[in-house]
């Protein structure tokens, strides 16, 4: 193994070129591989935010887990929210391996969340006051998540791509779980139908914001260029939003629902959906943890974490069992 130091002797620039060649050739980068700092930092930011968003995303739906109206729905939503936690687990493991060289682990991720250093997805700062929301989140929020996540299934970072493969397979169940709730409501009593329309109205702006601003100048920052350069994702925010419209608008209409944006239309010539922009200033506020439910959900997460601190401290391997 003494001849195996060739790579180590390369200059940083040569290492970088070698790395970019691997990316261009469609090779998968693994956790232990050399990677540019920018690549590592981009991944850490992207994946830890993705992971913690799954964990925070369990909270709006959690409200409806004990309240679900039938035995079958109780089981379904329990399994669904469990998956959100499970997805958080998979993603955080990927992020944790990337941060390991800095001596950081899950404890730091949790603390970063509590101090506001680590953000969670804008959609999970919103209230979910009815059972209709439980259905709508599963149907359309998860639908939007499927669009962004499948866009990264071929990500250049192997561990992320493998986690997403597992996640997307389960998202198919999530989407159908959401569809089943919405379908029952849409085919139900007038009150039940109203629940769905109310939820759609409530979540519309959030669904538009889900994919992020179209370009950096909308809100001042966007990581999309870097992620495309390193082949972590392929499509832009706006392309993903358009894909979402194309897949879901016809379904929304087929259930007899009204689009909350009366100006929305499909421009055949441009091949684009024309829609009213959400309030991107509000988006900026939301992602700074100033959304309607940001503080409350962070409080819930932090309280439960601190409340159980004694368990983690007690089981620390440095405590000898007797």
């Amino acid at each position: 193994m003494t001849t195996m130091t060739a790579f180590e002797r390369l200059s940083d620039e040569e290492k970088h070129n070698h790395f970019m060649q691997r990316i261009e050739a469609g090779e998968k980068i693994e956790a232990e591989d050399w990677m540019p700092e920018e690549y590592r930092m981009t991944l850490i930011k992207l994946i830890s935010m993705h992971g913690i968003s799954e964990i925070m995303g369990a909270l709006p739906e959690k409200e409806w887990v004990p309240k679900a109206p039938t035995l079958r729905r109780k089981l379904g939503i329990m399994a669904k929210v469990q998956d959100e936690m499970g997805h958080g687990q998979l993603l955080l493991r990927v992020a944790e391996d990337l941060m390991k060289p800095y001596g950081r682990n899950r404890e730091d991720i949790m603390q970063d969340l509590f101090t506001g250093r680590l953000k969670f997805h804008n959609v999970f700062h919103m209230p979910a006051p009815t059972w209709g929301d439980a259905g709508l989140i599963g149907w359309l929020v998860d639908g939007a998540a499927i669009i962004t996540q499948t866009n990264m299934l071929k990500a250049s970072y192997g561990p992320y791509a493998r986690a997403l493969q597992r996640i997307c397979a389960e998202e198919v169940f999530h989407a159908q779980h959401g569809e089943a709730i919405i379908m029952a409501l849409a085919e139900g009593t007038d009150e039940q139908k109203a629940l769905v329309q109310d939820s759609l109205n409530r979540w519309w702006e959030s669904l538009l914001m889900f994919f992020g601003p179209a370009a950096a100048d909308t809100t001042g920052s966007s990581k999309q260029d870097t992620t495309i350069k390193y082949k972590i994702r392929t499509k832009t925010n706006e392309q993903l939003r358009q894909d979402f419209f194309t897949k879901y608008i016809p379904r929304v209409l087929s259930l007899g629902l009204e689009l909350p944006d009366p100006t929305m239309r499909y421009d055949e010539e441009k091949g684009l959906w024309i829609y009213k922009q959400p309030d991107w200033n509000e988006f900026k506020e939301i992602v700074r943890n100033n959304g309607p439910k940001s503080k409350e959900r962070l409080r819930l997460r932090q309280l439960s974490y601190e409340n159980n601190a004694w368990v983690r401290e007690a089981l620390s391997p440095s405590n000898e069992a007797i």
């Binding site: 050399w34 493991r93 391996d97 983690r312 401290e313 089981l315 620390s316």
Partner: protein, 116 residues
């Protein structure tokens, strides 16, 4: 929280067998304070929807991995036909001339079964 809380998060790799016949396969990694709790977490975290008949958990620090350099050692030339049946394909014609069939991989591996 102090260092003790951090130490709770030990890394374990999880392997499982899907059926009695199948080999162990790597699933994913999880955090747990010790082997016993890692075992208790493993199935529900990674195999909630698929059959599983056996599980291993391995402490990450006990695994000696190849680094990027060392993975170069895994490459080899494609000149080793003599290790494979490919290098002995000419026998087929020879046996045919002697009115015998070739005892190839498919034929030989079928001998173990009692379905013949």
């Amino acid at each position: 929280m102090g260092d003790k809380g951090r130490e709770f998060y030990q890394e374990f790799e999880v392997f499982s067998k899907r059926t009695f016949k199948s080999p162990f396969q790597h699933q994913f990694s999880l955090l747990a304070p010790n082997h016993e709790l890692a075992v208790v977490m493993a199935q529900e975290n990674f195999m909630r929807r698929e059959p599983v008949v056996d599980i291993w958990v391995v402490k990450r620090s006990d695994i000696r991995m190849f680094n990027q350099e060392e993975r170069e050692a895994l490459q080899r030339l494609d000149n080793k036909e003599y290790r494979n049946t490919k290098g002995y394909g000419y026998l087929k014609k020879k046996w045919r001339d002697k009115e015998q069939g070739m005892l190839d991989e498919k034929e030989i591996l079928s001998w173990g079964g009692d379905d013949k």
